[in-house]
Subunit: 272 residues, 2 copies
């Protein structure tokens, strides 16, 4: 196999004085990669580059991880298709590179119909399995999915019901959860149903039903002072007096500059 | 070097029918690791294990990544100290393992004093550098840090001002940002200052000052209909009529079961 001809790695400058290495320019052999990486770091240092971002495609470049780490790169985040590392070059300045995403976003939806019945499910797997615990449909928000969009999707997937999101009742922040021991942000939405037929999800839901709200609030599972009990209270506050227990309402905003679409949740639809 | 004596890897069962491999039990040599991993997968399959979580300590076990990937593990997330992979074993069931954290959480703080002056800064680096753009103190929330805690910290770090968080004005969701192209959740807080002296951060802040609110709202930088302009309007709505433009107020809840501390943000302090 011929040795790698490139002297330094290609990359794209970012607005923070950093560089994003072009993954398609990586030498596949660890020895070639080590030589080119050393030369690149030396040149970037001379040029005053601050942060360097390096993504190794997986599984094809898994063998390059060891070399990158030996040259001072730190793992930053990963997906099934790549592991991304970063290096901070300025010797006498604090590292200001952003850390990896460290929040989970989850949603729950109180779908309440005109007869004050709330849509509830029992889960097939997990810690609540077999405990007869009724809950509103919930789930994790996916990458680049909107909160409201995830809320509608989870209701549809778990129960078959289509709903219209009316606003955000509240949000809960909980630390040290899940495999990563990171922070969980849980957003409770209020919605009204557009359809009523129930087709519970085979793989995750044991049963789904429309339960009278008073029956739901009287279930023995609610521990006074707990977060679920508090969320119920905030939901009831809104149902009893929408002004006093008002929702954060979503407003979609147009794309601006190099930023993506935005949705703002707040009190009232501000005059734009 | 002696060959690795262990037949299968040790691990801890989780409540979802999965197993978390004990990282301290990993054979350091790739060849030993490959043999033990193959035997472990075979046994776990027989036992009906669903998801397998495998963390490789870095930099010491970087050379094991290639082996894990070859045995069907997918990279899930990473930190400077480890890369974590997962494998889903049931052949005819959909993979229900949670994905990696895919949200950034950021905070901004409108610190407004009794004379209607707002605390603003100009940043030293980044896309706004040299544009004369005034903004409220902002920053990223760290892993396992509370939103309110991050808000107070950023105000203190960027300006030297101590403040008391009064509540959440609104939140903004923006997609496809940062190196990871994930979703950014930005929470705008309202606070009152406890101190007034300004000591701007050398490394990140060009200047900080107390600016009359009307002057801030009249800056030419605000583009009508943009997210920053919308956030300003929601803040003013609150300042003009705290009932109508009401905040989501934080309520800290006690630790419950195996879950961490929680904070719930919603309208009003519900009777607990």
């Amino acid at each position: 196999e011929a040795s790698w001809g490139m002297a330094v790695l290609r990359g794209k400058r970012d607005p923070y004085g950093g560089i994003l290495v072009d993954s398609s320019s990586l030498p596949p052999a660890p020895s070639d990669f080590g030589r080119v990486l050393a030369a690149s770091l030396s040149q970037w240092h001379t040029e005053g580059i601050r942060g360097v971002w390096l993504s190794l495609p997986l599984p094809s470049n898994a063998s390059l991880l060891e070399v990158a780490v030996k040259h001072g790169f730190k793992a930053h985040h990963a997906t099934p298709r790549h592991i991304t590392l970063s290096a901070w070059l300025p010797e006498n300045q604090p590292n200001t590179l952003p850390g990896p995403a460290c929040h989970y976003a989850g949603v729950g939806v109180a779908v309440v119909d005109a007869e004050d019945r709330i849509l509830v499910v029992q889960e097939l797997n997990g810690p609540l399995k077999g405990r007869g615990y009724w809950k509103v449909p919930t789930g994790m928000v996916e990458a680049n999915e909107g909160l409201s969009e995830a809320a509608r999707r989870e209701v549809r997937e778990e129960t078959g019901v289509e709903c219209e999101i009316q606003g955000m009742v509240c949000l809960r922040e909980t630390h040290s959860l899940h495999v990563q021991r990171l922070t969980d942000l849980f957003f409770l939405f209020k919605a009204r149903p557009l359809t009523t037929d129930l087709t519970p999800q085979d793989s995750e839901i044991l049963q789904a039903k429309w339960m009278p709200l008073q029956e739901y609030l009287s279930l023995p599972q609610w521990r006074p002072g707990s977060a679920p009990s508090h969320l119920n209270t905030l939901m009831v506050n809104h149902l009893e007096d929408p002004q006093k227990g008002g929702l954060f309402l979503p407003v979609a905003l147009p794309r601006g500059g190099n930023r993506g679409d935005a949705v703002v949740y707040g009190r009232g639809r501000a005059k734009l």
